[in-house]
Symmetry: C2
Amino acid sequence: MNVTIKDVAKRANVAPSTVSRVIADNPRISKETKERVWKAMEELGYYPNAIARSLASKVTNTLGLIMPRSTEEAFSNPFFPEVMRGISVVAHREKYDLLLSTSGNQEEEKEAVINMVKGKRVDGIILLSSRTTDELIPWLRDEKFPFVVIGKPLDAKGVYWVDNDNIGASKLATNYLIKHGHREIAFISGSLEYVVSLDRLDGYKLALEENGIPFKRELVEQDEFSEDGGYRAMMRILEREKPTAVVVTDDVMAFGVIRAAIDKGYRVPEDISIVGFNNIPLSAFANPPLTTIDISTFDLGIKSAELLIARLKQKDVDTDHIIVPVKLVERKSCVAR
Amino acid sequence: MNVTIKDVAKRANVAPSTVSRVIADNPRISKETKERVWKAMEELGYYPNAIARSLASKVTNTLGLIMPRSTEEAFSNPFFPEVMRGISVVAHREKYDLLLSTSGNQEEEKEAVINMVKGKRVDGIILLSSRTTDELIPWLRDEKFPFVVIGKPLDAKGVYWVDNDNIGASKLATNYLIKHGHREIAFISGSLEYVVSLDRLDGYKLALEENGIPFKRELVEQDEFSEDGGYRAMMRILEREKPTAVVVTDDVMAFGVIRAAIDKGYRVPEDISIVGFNNIPLSAFANPPLTTIDISTFDLGIKSAELLIARLKQKDVDTDHIIVPVKLVERKSCVAR
DNA sequence: AGAAGAAATGCAATCGGTTTCATTTTAAAG
DNA sequence: CTTTAAAATGAAACCGATTGCATTTCTTCT
């Protein structure tokens, strides 16, 4: 069998508990003993069993990552790899590993979280996006399990979260179009079951209101977070309206929106201007290059991991949320009228 | 404290071992007892502790994913999220979770693997790319630990791997350019410490040879797998040569190559034709849309996970490797001369 | 030299399960 | 109504660590 702490103990002529303390570099063990034990570990090629250690110490040094919906779907949108990139940087720095649950739908997602939490497999959890109907958030809060949500939850009481100022960001995008002389501005977002969609819709409405432009329900559509989703939503709008500009809350969707506009015989940006969200790498290379709101996806990852780990280390952290700034990246998908 | 198997046992008036058997749905337990135990579990809100279970059973239902170099870097190239997407589909189907180690360099990578393997944290490992100088592969093989490599290892003896026919793929790309009348064809790849770069270089040479075109060392460059890397490599070539076409073994690098060509006053594709590799989403939208070799990245993920899990389930699998087919996607970055 | 306190180490319980083997219960057979 | 085998359950060891508390050893002081 494998070499265990006991084998090392025997070889070094000490008790297993002593070996354990040597591993932890406990100051109550004398220099000499430590050296003897280290030598024994070296000679036997000992390596601690992380599972056993976790069981005894109740610490896993692992962060759980929960993706929205199916893991498969999530990986299709560049947003998630990018936020994971941020998370991984911090996780690495702080010596945490990442456990990805692979769920297929909302029910499995719940199951996955329960498995992580009750199964004691992780020290904390990052939810990669917050849904309005999320049962996970209240559940985790009630369990008093450390977690951080990317995206402000509907009910943020007692939960730690990291997000952009989505209302402000959406106002920024809409105002940009208004300043360029647009008044018939459509708004396309992902499902309204995501808080982020709701917030951005609010920002859009606010911008209109502040500029005395009446809100028209017919100019608003939702669909899934994909190129096709954007295409379908835009098609529906173009069936009934003639917007001169559109705010799309996701760059991937924006590509679909552009495609729909072109299929309907419009030119972008000459006939219809477009502002996207997220500033994914593709956006700079799109045709036309997409004007978009850069939400600092990478930082969203960084901050959420930092917040979670801070919470893990000291029971109480001064802030319960972090707002990551956004900025508008001007490219070629908008035109003044 | 938490509800354990013992609490359930007490409540159901059975021994802990019986409860354990009920969880495993062992047929040697009577229907009535099972029902009594289930009821007790339900009433107490029992959930098995995965860590304890792993410790005893030596099974984790987790797959380890090892990214090349820094995890951060890996997430920047769309290749990796896409292969992970494939892996996650299979993992989900087979009820495995994914453990991502977060390493920063080659040394830490080794450390991470040792931690996973010796720490007994995973049942098997997928290496997301194989380096020529990889110590990991021989080490894992010697440990007799189940693992699969994406990318054919230099020494494939006794290791399971999934890859494209990279030599063939590279021949395909090069021949395509040759058929379009090009003879001064440059070749840009990532570092030659990756087997994939080596193989593709071989394919390139082979294609030249078969068409009686002399190989010129000056037309070949390597750099890191990034846009900048491609830019630098192309710049170096353009300092000394005047190729009419170039094969670039990574789409992200190809964008840099295009940028370099344009900076040097060439037009793409009119002056210089480009063929990329990987067919990442961005490629279709690039300017010009990139002609590229589609290596079925998603399938690479699917197949590697399937191969690993097959190996986990039955000690011996009939094949030790899988070749995923490639195809050339013709777009607008090449022109005949 | 003996007592007291500090330093170093060991003992044994514990974490929460699984699994082998023994024991009890039940059913079938003689 | 035994005998015997099969079925169901329990007892206890084990997986590989950690940790509270007890014990031994070493200093230091009187």
